[in-house]
Amino acid sequence: MGKKKDKNGKALRAVEAPKERHTFARNPGTALELDWVRDVRVNRSAVERRAKTLPGRRSVKKQWQAAWLVRAVQCMDLTTLSGDDTPGRVQRLCAKARQPVSPSLIAALGLGHVGLTTGAVCVYHEMVPTAVAALQGTDIPVAAVSTGFPHGLSPLKQRLKEIEASVAAGAKEIDIVITRAHLFTGNWQAMYDEMKAYREACGDAHVKAILATGDLNTLRNVAKASLVCMMAGADFIKTSTGKESVNATLPVSLVMVRMIRAYQERTGHIVGFKPAGGISSAKLALTYLALMKDELGDRWLQPDLFRFGASSLLGDIERQLEHFITGRYAAGYRHPMA
């Protein structure tokens, strides 16, 4: 393709993406606008068609692909949320978050100056102190899944206490789960009040609202829950806990990012997006980045507005980056595990 020019023949210069985090005010939320919630319209077949054709429309190759994969690492909430988590396991994860890609590859990519880390480490409340200690001296925030994860059905008071405890233990980000029952019973006020209470309990910590979209059944429900959480002040909306039978999908993500756009258009407030669960291939990660770029713009390619919730994605990205550098297909065991 020839050099790109605008209509006046001037060569186009790319706009520099902002480097600093938090260049915008946190979403303060709005009143609960029930008319807006009820007016939401989502056509499933049309959404699926857009989602299905997106990977065919967008392709990044060679050094562009390498750069995009590095970005995917920067936007990754490296996660362990298992019943058998131990401090040892969490320490290993944090070590990987500090150095997600081997120094030799980083040097070969010419990114020695970048100080590549993952976007965050995401753990259960119990593991927050371990993670905070393990990440000392870095900018990597610890995210905690609080509020009776993954079902969110412990007593509300206890959930709020859990958030406060996680924040006190040093978590900078809190991933909460909404009470799905509020959606099925149409009790938007309860969902809004709960979310608002979570947000208040978080204080300065950023709050990501997990919609557990696999439980919500329809895309219209996803859109409505997205809106209510944003109105109640969520900093991020997130698809899944990773524990529902269906995790993040492209159609669900498309609906959520369109609601983020609609919310911004109407209120001016900016909200981030986090797909979680099921994103384990580098190729799929690229498609998600393309979705953010095309639907919301380059600003949403920064870790302050976009995160992957992932545990095995990093391994595939490392292999692809090695392939880019060496031209050989990589073996997983040659990369340090998390």
Binding site: K4, R41, T53, S59, A67, R71
Partner: protein
């Protein structure tokens, strides 16, 4: 070289080119030059001339193509003629194996076909790879099935013979598949001429035919310019012409084939509406627009090029559209990250720009994205024109480029009116989250395909084709198969005797005026009965105030009828137009009326038989038999009225496609002389049963059989204007009907007298469908020849409404 660190700052997409190595190797293997594929061999063109095939995105010449002249066309038609009997004789299951092999070959060579197509046409590789080529394979698979089931599902049908096919440059390989698959499935042999701009994929397909071992001559591919196409269309030994392309050329072909007896299907231009109601999912509708008008650079006959938005959401919709346009990537079509590729040729870019400038001059506001454009090659930016009025040139003319014109509407009725305010009728999109709204509006749009909450979806099982100046005939589905065969008996029908030859005299006559040649015959002494015209459910005096004498075989005056003129036809068509209840009457109701007419006719059977005898000299038994057959025929169509129903297709996605049998509209009918009552009813009952309104010219020689029906009709609850009868001179009235743009179809039966040619020549005004006898005489007493599905097919058009579903 851009480094990773820089890209990490900009997060640009970067180039992602699809390799063209194998495609270039294929071109090199042919030394960049291709002959004609005739009779299973590659031959040089008769002209000895070659022309360049260019890659529109670079201007590079990629191959030399043969210019076929009339001798090469003749060779190709001869090869097809020679191959056709054995191909048909192979039987459906035998043919199915070859179609199946072609489907598999297309899949095996899918990437080569995609890359060659993109290099030749300029459309993005995403589209050729993900849409065009998979649809081509699907088309051959599906039609392998029709070949397999031909005898069971199309009983009594025979292939038409040799088919000449001319296809456009916008979907070169897909249009080839749409043409060739049904044709050869039905047992025809074809000569196909690809578009001058884009012949390469057809030549590659010819090689696949060789690989499949297709018998030589079944498929012939001839390249060349418009003169090559004309030579094919006009070739005497071609039995059917199938054309996809511009309405302008379609009209030329209609004229050129008029009266030749050639079957014809035309898939022409469009200016398809894209209707967005306030309750639509707007973000999805915006994405729909992308697929409607920025798919294949808008070079799509069914492109949703007229955006009709409900006023209350117009501002929001346009804002979203503008934002979306900025994200469209225009560039090298072989780049896997490009949305909009190259326009096929410089001449098209000029035409698009001219029309856009015209639109701006007429008051439209121009919006084009600020995104990058390639600095060479044939490109045009995605374009939106707002503030467009229905009267604007750009709202009426097909632009055939990436140009969307936007208008607003207030109510569903206004949306329908605006949607139908066009000379075209190919496709439409309707966006609404209300099932009531969508399913109410979709059938009211005069278009062959309507997509609900979707756009530009195609499948081999679902017929595609238009109304009005968008052409006639369908491609895909069983209706597409019918376009390539005809009842086997039709080819065997005897011709009418030449009226000039001795022995051709028929009994009875009618003459203009009160006094026939030879003087005034004797008349009976009964009370005078005056047959006028029957228009709008009332008897009306003829505009001219003249009458016509009807004589029996002995020369005696049997009666007088009105002498119709062009104004009587005009009035009859006007009455039919004003009749709006019949098309929406229930099928049950239409059946009841037809039964009632039959009942009332039978009550007066003797009187009608007597009249037939008086006019035609038929024996008592013959006349009684004709009346009895007439009653039975009415009963048959009463029976059919609620049984000739559409289908529900299940294309490979979560969707139902409703293939509805819709009335065509106003059908003109010109009747033969033989069996004057039976033939009249055989021809008017099927269109009436299917909800059409009819303007009919009864037998010129024996018109009283029809005029006697007035009272039967009056007492049978047939609403006024459904059946309008104008007596008079056949040839003159036929011309008026054929040239009337409000008449949607014209059936012309009876002796030819060059009438078939006249009918088809004059039909170009509004591209009405014609069904002409070509001088072949049917036996109206024979049920197979005189009634049934053949007549019903001609009385409806199939509208496919796509309804994707899922909450």
């Amino acid at each position: 070289m851009t480094n990773v660190a820089d890209i990490l700052e900009t997060m640009e997409y970067g180039p992602a080119p699809e390799g063209d190595g194998p495609a270039r190797a294929w071109l090199d293997a042919h030394e960049g030059r291709f002959g004609l594929y005739i009779g299973g061999r590659w031959v040089d063109p008769d002209t000895g001339k070659y022309f360049a095939a260019e890659n529109p995105s670079s201007g590079e010449t990629i191959a030399q193509l043969a210019q076929a002249g009339s001798r090469s066309i003749d060779d190709a038609v001869k090869a097809a003629r020679a191959a056709q009997p054995a191909w048909a004789g192979l039987g459906g299951p035998g043919r199915a194996r070859y179609l199946y092999a072609l489907a598999r070959l297309v899949q095996r060579h899918s990437r080569l076909l995609s890359v060659v197509e993109t290099m030749d046409n300029g459309k993005p590789i995403r589209e050729t790879r993900d849409i065009d080529v998979p649809l081509v394979a699907r088309h051959f698979y599906h039609h392998a099935g029709w070949a397999q089931l031909f005898d069971q599902e199309l009983p009594g049908m025979a292939p038409v013979g040799v088919v000449g096919q001319v296809i456009p440059w916008n979907f070169p390989l897909l249009m080839l598949a749409w043409k060739i698959a049904p044709a050869i499935a039905a047992g025809n042999a074809v000569v196909l001429k690809p578009a001058e701009f884009t012949s390469l994929s057809a030549l590659l397909f010819a090689e696949l035919c060789q690989k499949a071992g297709l018998p030589p001559g079944v498929v012939n591919i001839v390249t060349g310019d418009g003169s090559t196409g004309a030579a094919l269309v006009e070739h005497e030994d071609v039995d059917k012409v199938a054309f996809t392309g511009s309405t302008e050329v379609g009209k030329i072909i209609r004229k050129a084939t008029a009266g030749s007896g050639k079957h014809l299907t035309l898939e022409l231009g469009g200016k398809s509406p894209f209707i967005v109601f306030a309750d639509a999912d707007l973000d999805s509708a915006v994405e729909g627009v992308v697929d409607a008008i920025w798919f294949n650079q808008g070079q799509v006959c069914c492109a949703g090029s007229r955006l009709l938005v409900q006023e209350e959401i117009a501002e929001a919709m346009i804002a979203k559209l503008k934002a979306r346009m900025n994200n469209l990537r225009v560039g090298n079509p072989l780049d896997k990250c490009v949305d909009v590729g190259a326009i096929v040729a410089p001449v098209q870019v000029e035409r698009i720009d001219e029309l856009v400038q015209q639109g701006v001059k007429e008051g439209a506001t121009l919006h084009q994205p600020q995104s990058a454009m390639p600095d060479k090659g044939c490109f045009y930016p995605p374009t939106l024109l707002t503030g467009v009025q229905p009267a604007s040139t750009v709202a009426q003319e097909e632009i055939f480029g990436p140009v969307l014109v936007a208008m607003t509407f207030r109510t569903p009725d206004e949306a329908v009116a605006l949607a139908n305010n066009t000379k075209y009728g190919l496709a439409a999109s309707v966006w609404s989250e209300s099932i009531n709204q969508a399913l109410d509006v979709a059938p009211r749009i005069r278009a062959g395909v309507v997509w609900v909450n979707s756009t530009n979806m195609f499948d081999a099982a679902c017929g595609f084709g238009g109304y009005r100046e968008s052409g006639f005939g369908r491609e895909g589905g069983i209706e597409g198969m019918h376009a390539y065969c005809e009842p086997a008996f039709v080819g065997q029908l005897p011709k009418y005797p030449d009226p000039e030859q001795p022995g051709a005299e028929q009994p009875g006559a009618s003459y203009p005026g009160a006094v026939p040649p030879g003087g005034l015959p004797e008349t009976g002494g009964g009370l005078d009965r005056t047959a006028k015209q029957y228009i709008g459910g009332k008897q009306a005096r003829p505009d001219g105030g003249y009458s016509r004498s009807v004589l029996g075989p002995d020369g005696a005056l049997v009666g007088e009828v009105a002498e119709g003129n062009r104004k009587d036809i005009r009035n009859a068509v006007e009455a039919a137009r004003k009749q709006t209840s019949w098309p929406s009457a229930t099928a049950h109701n239409r059946a009841q009326v037809l039964y009632y007419i039959a009942e009332n006719l039978e009550a007066r059977a003797q009187e009608f038989a007597g009249r037939i005898r008086a006019m035609t000299g038929a024996s008592e038994d013959e006349a009684a038999a004709e009346v009895a057959a007439s009653v039975r025929r009415l009963f048959s169509y009463g029976a059919w009225a609620d049984k000739y129903e559409g289908r529900v297709h299940s294309p490979p996605l979560r969707n139902v496609t409703l293939a509805m049998h819709e009335p065509i509209g106003i059908v003109g009918v010109v009747c033969p002389d033989e069996r004057p009552l039976l033939s009249f009813l055989s021809l008017v009952a099927p269109p009436i049963a299917m909800g059409n309104r009819v303007v009919v010219v009864p037998s010129e020689r024996h018109p009283l059989a029809a005029t006697d029906l007035y009272q039967v009709l009056d007492t049978s609850d047939l609403p006024g204007g459904v059946l309008n009868i104008v007596t008079g001179e056949r040839a003159g009235l036929t011309k008026v009907l054929a040239g009337h743009d409000q008449v949607d179809a014209l059936w012309y039966m009876g002796p030819d007298e060059a009438g078939s040619r006249t009918v088809q020549e004059l039909s170009v005004g509004n591209m009405k469908r014609t069904w002409v006898a070509d001088g072949r005489r049917r036996d109206w007493m024979n049920t197979q020849q005189g009634e049934g599905r053949e007549f019903l097919r001609e009385a409806v058009q199939v509208k496919n409404i796509w309804v994707p579903y899922g909450e």
